[in-house]
């Protein structure tokens, strides 16, 4: 594919608001997971990655109908790192119709519906009058909110493929840029804590009681997090700073295997990674670091481990940053693309935290400490429920 420039990016997660917060935490190998006290949840023994002060960022009055945790988190995220200034500059360059909004989410504002169901009319069963399905619950609401906030008039869509959602938007946006449909895109993902995912993963017995331990022999499952990650994608200009980060390739596939279990040999994952390398015109040996999907469930890590070992062997370094951020589900692809971009710009590889005893059955060079090895090209993996896989290849311009 034709490379695409990540001209501006930001991320807010349980590690804090904006890039400085996450960079500092990663440098210090500090995590943001804490025992779950979210909403009315008192009966789940698990840790979550809650973004601090989401409730302190109410939406502007003009967009009050979009009020819900997911859109608040989106709004908080948009206000970090000068992201809005970068969007306004892109609007000035290209026009409101040439800027796309392509975001990933898995549950959008469903928390609003969960709460509305508790407030059903005792006589009629009706949901309360103040509940607005379109602007909160509906999967599209977060892209609609962002499009309305910047008064954009171009294409917009939400990709909702569970945990690969906000990786796949990079692929969609790159195609739209290549086709000339748009000149720039706001991509990324927003997913927020809700009862559906907490109790749902609990029913699948995939929640870890302790902060998650990716690739640890004693890993016990995931820690759910939330995040808002935004990236402005544009075609590369004439002269790029050596520190500029480019999206070099994207690869997508489907497991065609099971709704909630990965292909045991990681076949779909391997196909997505191979497709991303082909798309970037690179060989496996060209990749210095892989930010693993690494959810810390026994079967996911085993399958991904087989897939990366088969393709990259011990030539690359690997880690999952979910020990620090939790699994932010539909926002994970965007969050981890930003972490990968930070690794490229700041010349370090983030070690995974909480992992004490690497699983000896997975023969890869998993980093449990930060490395000062400056990567030139990295891969970020995102694999979702239903077997929807996406791998991104990012590289430095210089």
């Amino acid at each position: 594919m034709t490379p695409v420039h990540l001209s501006h990016f930001t991320v807010s997660s349980c590690l804090g608001h904006g890039l400085d917060a996450i960079l500092t935490a990663l440098r210090q190998q500090r995590g943001g997971l804490a025992p779950c006290r979210f909403e009315t949840v008192r009966d789940l023994d698990t840790h979550v990655g809650e973004v601090p002060k989401v409730d302190d960022f109410p939406l502007p009055a003009s967009l009050a109908e979009y009020e819900c945790r997911n859109n608040r988190l989106a709004f908080l995220g948009l206000q970090q790192d000068g992201f809005s200034s970068a969007v306004e500059a892109a609007i000035a360059r290209y026009g409101r119709r040439r800027l796309g909004v392509l975001l990933g989410t898995s549950t959008a504002g469903i928390l609003q519906t969960e709460q509305a169901y508790r407030r059903r009319d005792p006589n009629t069963g009706a949901l309360p009058n103040d509940f607005n399905y379109r602007t909160t619950h509906n999967t599209y609401s977060v892209a609609d909110f962002v499009r309305r906030w910047y008064r954009l008039e171009g294409p917009a869509v939400v990709v909702s493929t569970a945990c690969s959602s906000s990786a796949k938007v990079f692929a969609s946006a790159a195609r739209m840029l290549a086709a000339g449909v748009i000149d720039a895109a706001i991509v990324g993902g927003v997913d927020s804590l809700c009862l559906t995912t907490l109790y749902g993963f609990n029913s699948l017995e995939l929640l870890s009681a302790e902060p998650c331990r990716p690739f640890d022999v004693d890993r016990k499952g995931i820690s759910i997090g939330e995040a808002a990650a935004f990236v402005l994608l544009e075609r590369p200009g004439e002269s790029l700073d050596a520190n500029a980060v480019l999206l070099l390739g994207t690869g997508e596939s489907s497991d065609a295997y099971h709704m909630s279990a990965p292909h045991p040999e990681g076949l779909g994952a391997r196909m997505a990674m191979a497709a991303a390398l082909r798309s970037a015109g690179l060989q496996a040996a060209d990749i210095d670091y892989i930010n693993l999907h690494g959810t810390a469930t026994p079967s996911n890590d085993a399958a991904e481990g087989k897939a990366v070992a088969a393709l990259f062997g011990d030539r690359a370094s690997y880690s999952s940053t979910k020990g620090a951020t939790g699994h932010t589900l539909g926002a994970a692809g965007g969050l981890e693309a930003v972490i990968s971009a930070l690794a490229l710009q700041h010349a370090f590889l983030p070690g995974g935290i909480n992992t004490l005893h690497l699983d000896p059955a997975i023969p890869i060079q998993y980093l449990t400490a930060n490395s000062e090895l400056a990567p030139r090209r990295v891969m970020s993996n995102s694999f979702g429920f239903g077997g929807t896989n996406c791998s991104l290849v990012l590289g430095r311009a210089g």
């Binding site: 469903i110 508790r118 949901l127 399905y133 999967t139 909702s160 749902g200 029913s203 429920f385 929807t388």
Partner: protein, 271 residues
């Protein structure tokens, strides 16, 4: 490097699948759409998802069954193998019955939700079951743009066709939500529409499509019953396109997308 600056995208339609109230399949729907036969609204008749293994067959809801049925019909008509096609699913609300069941449990004293309910709650359940049913390990994308979901799906599908040069199956579908959600999002019936889109003209091509976005008045469907479907169900926003294809004449239809944009589709029949 010079980049194109228009939004013009091309593709060929090789197969169509449709399922809705009074529209059992594309072969029969054509007469209704051209006005050669009366439109008789009646409850949707959904074929069982026989391509799924029995355990999965028992687990899928109406929305997924509709999606799989039209996907299968479009592929069969085009004489294509799903294993070679990229798939794009686009739905505003996906499985409302399942969502209602989960929200009821979460609002109760005992919040234990069934694992099947949970894995069916993802917006991409249709794509996951399609992969299992068809064995296709090709990329699958799942989109939502509320009432613009059909337009968003068509734009994404033709972008894939044009940029990657791959055959692409677009499946757009909807199923009604039960109360109390229905009052907040009234979708009167289930509806599915699938298009097999190819980068080159082939022996089974029905028409060439070219899309662009415009500001222009929407096309409607003359028949009041079909027009009601178009207006009320996001997946049925594609009915004016199906009507033009049924008539087999060259022309342009304007479809709903996202305000202020509409999608203009120029149609050139192949036979």
């Amino acid at each position: 490097m010079a980049y194109p600056t228009t939004t013009m995208l091309n593709g060929w339609i090789d197969g169509i699948g449709v399922l809705g109230p009074g529209l059992d399949n594309w072969a029969e729907a054509q007469a209704t759409l051209t006005g050669a036969a009366d439109y008789e609204p009646r409850p949707i008749m959904v074929p069982p998802p026989v391509a799924l293994p029995p355990p999965e067959r028992r687990r899928v809801g109406l929305a997924v069954k509709v999606a799989l049925a039209v996907a299968q019909e479009a592929i069969a008509a085009a004489r294509l193998d799903a294993k070679h096609l990229v798939a794009i699913f686009s739905s505003s609300g996906a499985d409302g019955d399942n969502c209602d069941a989960i929200c009821r449990v979460l609002a109760s004293e005992d919040r234990h939700i069934s694992p099947t309910r949970f894995h069916n709650s993802v917006h991409n359940a249709s794509a996951g079951y399609w992969g299992i049913a068809s064995g296709a390990m090709t990329p699958a994308t799942v989109l939502c743009a509320y009432d613009g979901s059909f337009g968003a799906g068509l734009l994404e599908a033709l972008t894939q066709v044009a940029v990657d040069g791959v055959g692409t199956l677009l499946v757009t579908y909807e199923a009604p939500h039960p109360e109390p959600l229905h009052a907040k999002r009234p979708l009167p019936a289930a509806f599915g529409l699938a298009l097999a889109l190819m980068p080159q003209k082939g022996p089974n091509s029905l028409a060439r499509l070219q899309i662009n976005w415009v500001e222009a008045p929407l096309d409607r469907v003359a028949n009041p019953g079909l027009e009601a479907l178009r207006r009320q169900i996001p997946a049925a926003r594609g009915l004016p396109l199906l009507q033009a294809l049924a008539r087999g004449r060259a022309g342009r239809v304007i479809l709903e997308y996202l305000e202020p944009l509409r999608l203009a589709v120029d149609i050139q029949p192949c036979r």
